[in-house]
């Protein structure tokens, strides 16, 4: 789009904490399939504000390069970035097509106006259009605004994840089913480097859930890199 926004994002962080009052016209756009849009620095800056530790540029690229169509941005009337959502969509362990909301943030002065809700709606709609079976995400147990947004839209808490984030905070996993019969879909475990053996995985038949895998991983004393360390979203300082 334009290079201006990039500058705004880097040059004017001080405006950020002031609550914006009155009518603000917000419009929404897709990040799209451009390989690296000029929005990236602004997105990065907006999201890293609420993280205790920053993500490297590769984390953003990982999502935006592959799923740019699932990233939506909210802009004010001067095209400043005020909100963003970053997602992915791929089969979950060979089973259901799972959408995953990785990052969501609204610039602090613009919160409470329904911006994030709208961004989530756009992402969910797009995932539905792309034939997603379910959508998952994690959020801190005390991030009330975030829980409100998702739960109002129909997400359910399915698991509590003890000390999930790097800062030691506990999370809920939330899920939204988009099609019937998802729990009956068979999934396969990720390929762990099992220490010994024939390469087959020591599981019972039937649907597998990540807990079972994690339990086995723990028993095998191998680091559960595939799930545990995806401590991706919102290590938010705002609500702790």
């Amino acid at each position: 789009m334009s290079g201006i926004n990039q500058d705004v994002a880097t040059n004017a962080p001080s405006q950020d904490n002031e609550q914006v009052t009155g009518d603000v016209k917000i419009h929404y756009i897709t990040y799209g399939s451009e390989k690296e849009s000029s929005w990236l620095p602004a997105i990065r800056q907006l999201i890293s504000k609420d993280l205790s530790e920053p993500y490297s540029i590769y984390v953003y690229r990982y999502f935006l390069y592959q799923w740019g169509d699932l990233c939506f941005m909210a802009l004010d009337d001067q095209d400043n970035l005020v909100g963003v959502i970053v997602c992915k969509l791929e089969p979950h362990r060979g089973g259901p097509m799972r959408g995953y909301i990785a990052m969501l943030a609204t610039r602090s002065g613009y919160r409470g106006r329904g911006i994030a809700t709208e961004l989530v709606r756009m992402a969910v709609d797009k995932m539905i259009a792309k034939d997603a079976d379910e959508i998952a995400l994690e959020t801190e147990v005390d991030n009330i605004p975030s829980l409100r947004i998702y739960e109002n839209l129909g997400f359910l808490r399915t698991k509590r994840l003890h000390r999930y984030y790097l800062n030691g905070n506990t999370a809920f996993r939330l899920i939204l089913y988009l099609k019937p019969g998802i729990p009956y879909k068979v999934t396969y475990p990720p390929e762990y480097p099992y220490p010994e053996g024939d390469g087959s995985t020591p599981h019972q038949q039937g649907p597998l859930d990540e807990d079972l895998i994690q339990r086995q991983a723990a028993q095998l004393d191998i680091q559960d890199i595939h799930d545990q360390r995806f401590n991706l979203i919102a290590r938010s300082d705002d609500f702790t």
Partner: protein, 738 residues
């Protein structure tokens, strides 16, 4: 780092492996070549943001990537006004009081590690420890290793090189011992505890005994020094602490109270120690092998640290107390004991939980003469086979193949082998953190369901040898037993879900409804078992075998205690599901918009863990909806709720009268009493809230302010976990909004 490879094709992975292998082999003689120019040129050929990756580059790699020279990511980054290395000479003599402070600081960092912080943010930030762990340092691990400073003999130098060094050596060895214990048991890396050593070894060449020997030397030297007596005693107390701690970890001592005793002395002299923060630095992280960004050193609060030490000691003592011979002989008492341990407040740390697991699973046998296999047999016998020769341990010793007792015993044995691992998990999983208990139990449900199918076959095989019927009714002991366990696990998953706040207020109606459904099934299993027991007892009485009679009577007591407890829980869950349903109906509990949700899909998401059951599946959504719409008016529901709480109370009153042996709560008498009390209070609270609801609805109907039942002007709030009478039983708080 993202691979930039221009002949990007499927052979990338192979190329990478080859390259890595080559670089590993050529490690002996590194040839350094400046590739900046080449790299720049190559990078310019790509548009910004172009992600060149092979299929093995996952989100995990992306998250693990660091940006060089970003101060928040690159632990090697040195700001202009700072130095790369901490400027502190660890060989320098210090005031004995300063050494006291370092020791206390280390004590705080050590318990911080127990609490889940990595060593890089705790113990390893001590520059003295860092020097001892330096990769080039070797036995006898001196501080002055590698430096030209020679050790003097002044007190200020001895107190470093003799006292502090010995303390550090022992402390590091304690970490090795703790890791050993924890890593042999179940725990969850990072969420419970961080075992990562960041490329360091914990004094490989030194044994715990060696470290204790150094402590001894330091202890001997102290009285010969000119250090002021109070400071000398304080130093000695700290040496004593670490000595005691290591001895407990090596099992040379076993009363953890010894440690709390020393802790009191230490606490009393902490004020003598002036802070010397420069003896610690997070700059040590620059030398540690890690892909995590630099992280600040843990901040120690001395009082909190002491409290946590005390808690760990008490938890460890409790672990011993909850696994006495008496308790371990009864599977049900032992289960209660492990739950009691898990529910200590605050929850025991990872070491204490590993300590308990070591007692339980560290050896073949529990205590002198019980194995888990024995426990399993007792469990089965107590629930479904008391007085039946089938569960007589002697049968398992008969070797005559034609003897039907031998045949039955073999069938039993095969079955017990199959359920054994899952049975062990009932005990082991309760030693995990609360979230994990629920999640691993959720997994267990499916496993138990398939075991139930196996049990059906086992029962048929057993019945073919010795029929077990009462009239037309088959006993099906194994099926009953497995199903009972499955139902119990299902109950726990729901209750733990309630405790960990997984369900929103408007979901509680459904969850308590399901709970009451499960409890109903559990009750009918108990009844089934009781009927057979009575039938068996009438036969056993004829035989006058006192052992059999005693076994039957004991099981009868146990079944009665189960019935009473289940009845109480069932009454409570009926009261609550109806109460929550009516509160949701009158909009006292606000429904959510849930725009994207569909009723059936919500049900599937919520019931995921229970949906796949093939044996005795849970009812479909339609059944819940039918039950919901069959509920009467607010007044009628209030009537049921009141009646149900009355019932629950009388069952609880009956339960209280049962002895620890009858109801199998040996060793957890106090916890049992407390829990019954909490449930009684819950009953009272439900009754109070019900009458409040009744009063408000009648009042508002009279005032004509309620145009329809849907708008009574009532609001119900749900107390958060931790502020309930019992975390498993949520009593809504009802008030008027008018």
């Amino acid at each position: 780092m993202v691979l930039i490879d221009h002949d990007a094709d499927t052979s990338i992975a192979a190329t990478r492996l080859e390259r890595e292998a080559r670089s590993a082999m050529s490690y002996a003689g590194p040839k350094i070549r400046d590739v900046t120019g080449e790299f720049d040129a190559a990078a310019k050929q790509l548009p910004p943001g172009r992600l060149v990756k092979d299929e093995y580059f996952t989100l995990f790699e992306a998250v693990g990537a660091l940006e060089i020279m970003d101060p928040k990511m690159d632990s090697g980054f040195v700001p202009e006004d700072d130095t790369a290395e901490p400027e502190f000479d660890v060989c320098r003599g210090l005031l004995p009081t300063e050494v006291l402070w370092i020791m206390d600081q280390l004590l705080g960092l050590l318990i911080g590690w127990h609490d889940g912080y990595p060593l890089s943010q705790t113990v390893f930030t001590s520059l003295h420890v860092d020097r001892l762990l330096s990769p080039d340092n070797r036995r006898p691990y001196n501080l002055h290793f590698g430096s030209s400073v020679s050790t003097g003999v002044s007190d200020t130098e001895q107190v470093i090189h003799l006292v502090l060094r010995a303390y550090c050596l022992a402390l590091v060895k304690s970490c090795a011992l703790v890791l050993h214990t924890i890593q042999l048991q179940n725990f969850y890396e990072e969420e419970d505890f961080v075992t990562h050593l960041f490329g360091r070894e914990l004094l490989h060449g030194l044994s715990a005994e060696d470290a204790l020997g150094s402590i001894g030397e330091a202890m001997n030297w102290l009285p010969t020094s000119d250090i002021q007596k109070d400071v000398r005693d304080a130093l000695s107390a700290r040496l004593d602490f670490i000595w005691t701690y290591v001895s407990l970890l090596t099992n040379d001592l076993n009363d953890w109270h010894d440690l709390t005793d020393v802790l009191d002395t230490i606490k009393a002299t902490h004020h003598l120690a002036p802070p010397i923060p420069e003896a610690f630095s997070d700059k040590v992280q620059r030398q540690l092998a890690s892909s995590t960004p630099p992280r600040p050193m843990m901040q120690v609060s001395w009082d909190l640290a002491c409290q946590k030490w005390r808690e760990m000691c008490e938890d460890t003592v409790a672990a011993g107390r909850l696994t006495t011979e008496d308790i371990c002989q009864s599977p049900q008492s032992l289960q209660r004991a492990i739950w009691a341990f898990a529910y200590r407040d605050p929850p025991p740390n990872t070491y204490a939980r590993a300590y308990l697991q070591t007692i339980l699973f560290g050896a073949e046998r529990l205590g002198e003469n019980t194995s888990f296999f024995d426990l399993l047999l007792v469990d089965i016998r107590d629930l479904v086979l008391a007085g039946d020769p089938l569960a007589n341990p002697d049968n398992f010793l008969i070797e005559v193949p034609s003897d039907p007792r031998h045949q039955s015993a073999r069938i039993m044995e095969v079955f017990m082998d199959k359920v054994f691992d899952e049975y062990m998990n009932f005990f082991r999983m309760v030693c995990q953190n609360r979230c994990r208990i629920r999640r691993t139990f959720t997994q267990s449900i499916g496993v138990l369901d398939s075991l139930e199918a196996v049990a059906v076959q086992t029962d048929a095989d057993l019945d073919a040898i010795t029929p077990m019927r009462n009239g037309d009714v088959l006993l099906c002991p194994m099926t009953c037993w497995v199903r009972y366990q499955k139902l119990q696990i299902m109950i726990w998953t729901i209750q733990l879900g309630i405790e960990t706040d997984v369900y929103l207020p408007h979901e509680l109606s459904l969850m308590y409804w399901l709970l009451s459904w499960i409890l109903e099934r559990k009750l009918s299993l108990i009844t089934h078992s009781e009927v057979f027991l009575v039938w068996r007892m009438s036969e056993a009485n004829g035989m006058r075998d006192t052992r059999v009679v005693a076994e039957c009577l004991s099981s009868q007591d146990y079944l009665r205690s189960l019935r009473t407890q289940v009845e109480a829980e069932r009454s409570l869950s009926i009261a609550l599901w109806q109460l929550f349903t009516v509160l949701t109906a009158v909009k006292a509990i606000k429904p959510l918009k849930q725009d994207y949700a569909r009723e059936l899909l919500l049900y599937e998401a919520r019931m995921k863990s229970y949906l796949g059951l093939t044996q005795d599946p849970i009812p479909p959504l339609s059944e819940y909806k039918a039950a919901r719409s069959a509920l009467g008016s607010v007044q009628e529901v209030c009537g049921t709720t009141t009646a149900m709480t009355k019932q629950a109370k009388s069952h609880l009153a009956e339960l209280k009268k049962m002895t620890p042996h009858q109801a199998r709560y040996v060793g957890t008498e106090e916890q049992f009493k407390r829990e019954v009390k909490q449930m009684e209070t819950t009953c009272v609270a439900i009754a109070v809230q019900t009458s409040q609801l009744l009063r408000l609805s009648v009042h508002q109907a009279e005032m004509g302010s309620a145009t329809s039942e849907e708008k009574l002007g009532i609001e119900a709030t749900v107390p958060a976990p931790g502020s309930r009478y019992h975390d498993w039983w949520v009593v809504p708080q009802i008030k008027s909004t008018k």
